[in-house]
């Protein structure tokens, strides 16, 4: 994910890139060449920036809810001192702060590409986890809890239930 965000952060005019969860928790933050210190009120505090952005998303979603619109895929807020752009990526948001004077349109393609790569990455991870879970549960559960071997790795019980039970019962 770091590499994916770094590529976007290296674009001209990008001051900050972050991958932010729906609840406003920043997963990863990358500063652009110009740095994120200019994001005035947050004073470079990316936690505050992510939380405020998530708050904006929530407010906007509740404002458009009566129109039965889905969550926006992209949101942009252009001000005199810079531009905040949010792009939905799977269940999270890709947050980008652009330097003043730069147009959102100049970065739309790069953001779409990054969001698609992030989505693939997140989906790939969740598929691997799901596959691992399916693998674990495909075999019948042992009657006894997993024992730990010398290396501390979990090891399924090697006892045979038939051997454990007294013969004839």
């Amino acid at each position: 994910v770091k590499e994916i965000l770094d590529q976007l952060a290296s674009q001209v005019g990008v001051r900050l890139v972050a991958f932010v969860m729906d609840d406003g928790v920043p997963v990863l933050v990358r500063e652009g060449a110009k740095g994120g210190e200019g994001i005035a009120s947050t004073g470079g505090d990316t936690d505050a920036l992510a939380a405020l952005s998530a708050g904006w998303v929530l407010d906007v979603c509740s404002a458009i809810a009566p129109l039965a619109w889905d969550k926006p895929q992209r949101m942009a807020l252009r001000g005199a001192q810079g531009t905040l752009v949010l792009r939905r990526a799977h269940t999270a948001w890709l947050l980008v702060i652009l330097a003043e004077g730069l147009r959102v349109e100049d970065l739309v393609l790069a953001m779409d590409g990054t969001a698609a790569r992030l989505e693939r990455f997140v989906r790939g991870n969740s598929q691997t986890e799901a596959a691992a879970r399916v693998e674990d549960f495909s075999a019948p559960l042992p009657a006894l809890p997993a024992a730990r071997n010398e290396q501390g790795k979990a090891q399924s019980s090697s006892f045979n239930t038939e051997q454990e039970l007294p013969k004839g019962k």
């Binding site: 200019g38 994001i39 005035a40 009120s41 947050t42 004073g43 920036l49 405020l52 952005s53 708050g55 904006w56 407010d59 906007v60 509740s62 404002a63 458009i64 009566p66 129109l67 619109w69 889905d70 969550k71 926006p72 895929q73 992209r74 949101m75 942009a76 807020l77 252009r78 001000g79 005199a80 001192q81 810079g82 531009t83 905040l84 959102v104």
Partner: protein
């Protein structure tokens, strides 16, 4: 090639002038200013913007264009001053640099330069200039953090140079702008001590004295300003402008925008009122309320993030695109299918800052 380009450019300027004469609107002024700038006639571009702003003072785009033209002119002078500063640094040069940066709206640069000046000289004049840049920044982005920084600097000045008139004037201006009347009264009283017998100041003090009962503290006033985004003296301006002769009927522009087949609806929002074209009845009311709420929440977020005055808000999704162009007191908005067409985008920019009359058919 340059000669041909200049001739073509001038003919475009002429066409834009004729268009402006036929239909004076912020957009027409903007197009003419753009054509002038493209021809290298920066001074003309600035004059056009100033003329446009005299007619439509709320147009954010015209303001930005005027600032840009002014900035190009000022940059020439700044270059000269920077050379002079490198050769022989002195307060007068630093002061002029800060003044130019402030008047051209380059507040961040002015703040940086003033901070450098404070580091170098650390005298009352440099600190006063730094305080001024901080106040300008606060009045521009209206975030509590900027306000606290500005007031902290003014407090420091009051401690170190209690007889500095400029610092008290700055405090009076800031406190009055945000509606902290008790603090403004205190500043006016201090100024009266330094300039006894000034009739204008005495009248101001009496007015502030009458308003200072139950007035919010500085902190409370800053919280209110951050939430509402409206300075105390702006509310009265808005009230006077509604009934002023400047109003423009915006319905025709909205109708033209809504005529585009890709546009679902076009909106013009001012205060608690909205005009909608392209939708009717309860749907129009719901959509207008949504646009107003998006505008309100986005302005508040921009203030908290320190993004400064908002020029553009855009939401894109399965519903299409909702684009808003806020002016100082009003905003235009378009909801369209897919991406925003270039023509509609230009029209949207033209609507913002019209300060139009709303008429009876407001939603």
């Amino acid at each position: 090639v340059k000669f041909v380009a200049r001739i073509v450019g001038r003919s475009r300027v002429r066409a834009a002038r004729q268009r402006l004469a036929k239909d004076p609107s912020p957009l027409a002024y903007l197009l003419l200013a753009n054509e002038c700038a493209a021809c290298g006639m920066v001074r003309d571009a600035r004059r056009v913007c100033e003329e446009g702003l005299a007619a439509y003072p709320g147009s954010a785009e015209l303001k930005r264009m005027a600032q840009r033209a002014h900035r190009i002119e000022a940059e020439e002078r700044l270059k000269e001053l920077r050379v002079e500063l490198a050769e022989a640094p002195r307060p007068a040069v630093r002061r002029e640099i800060c003044e130019i940066l402030l008047t051209t709206g380059m507040i961040a640069d002015a703040e940086r330069h003033a901070a450098e000046w404070v580091e170098e000289d650390d005298d009352v004049e440099s600190r006063l200039m730094h305080a001024r840049t901080l106040v300008e920044r606060y009045l521009s982005d209206r975030s509590r953090k900027s306000g606290s920084a500005a007031m902290a600097m003014l407090d420091r000045l009051a401690d170190e140079a209690p007889r500095e008139i400029g610092a008290w004037e700055l405090r009076l201006r800031t406190a009055s702008a945000i509606g902290a009347w008790r603090e403004a009264r205190r500043a006016a009283a201090q100024l009266l001590g330094l300039r006894p017998g000034d009739p204008a100041l005495e009248a101001r003090f009496r007015a502030l004295d009458a308003m200072s009962d139950n007035a919010p503290t500085l902190e409370q006033a800053m919280i209110t300003i951050e939430r509402t985004g409206e300075l105390a003296d702006e509310g009265t301006d808005a009230g006077s402008r509604v009934d002023g002769p400047r109003g423009t009927d915006v319905r025709g522009l909205l109708r033209a925008m809504a005529g585009d087949p890709s546009v679902h609806a076009a909106f013009y929002v001012r205060g608690g009122t909205a005009l909608v074209q392209g939708q009717t009845g309860a749907t129009a009311e719901r959509a207008a309320r949504a646009v107003r709420n998006v505008l309100k929440t986005s302005r508040a977020t921009a203030r908290r993030l320190g993004l400064g005055p908002v020029y553009r808000i855009e939401l894109a999704g399965d519903f299409g695109t909702l684009a808003l162009a806020p002016g100082e007191m009003d905003a235009g908005a378009v909801w369209c299918r897919g991406a925003l067409p270039a023509e509609t985008e230009r029209a949207l920019v033209g609507i913002a800052g019209l300060d139009a009359t709303m008429g009876e058919a407001a939603a």
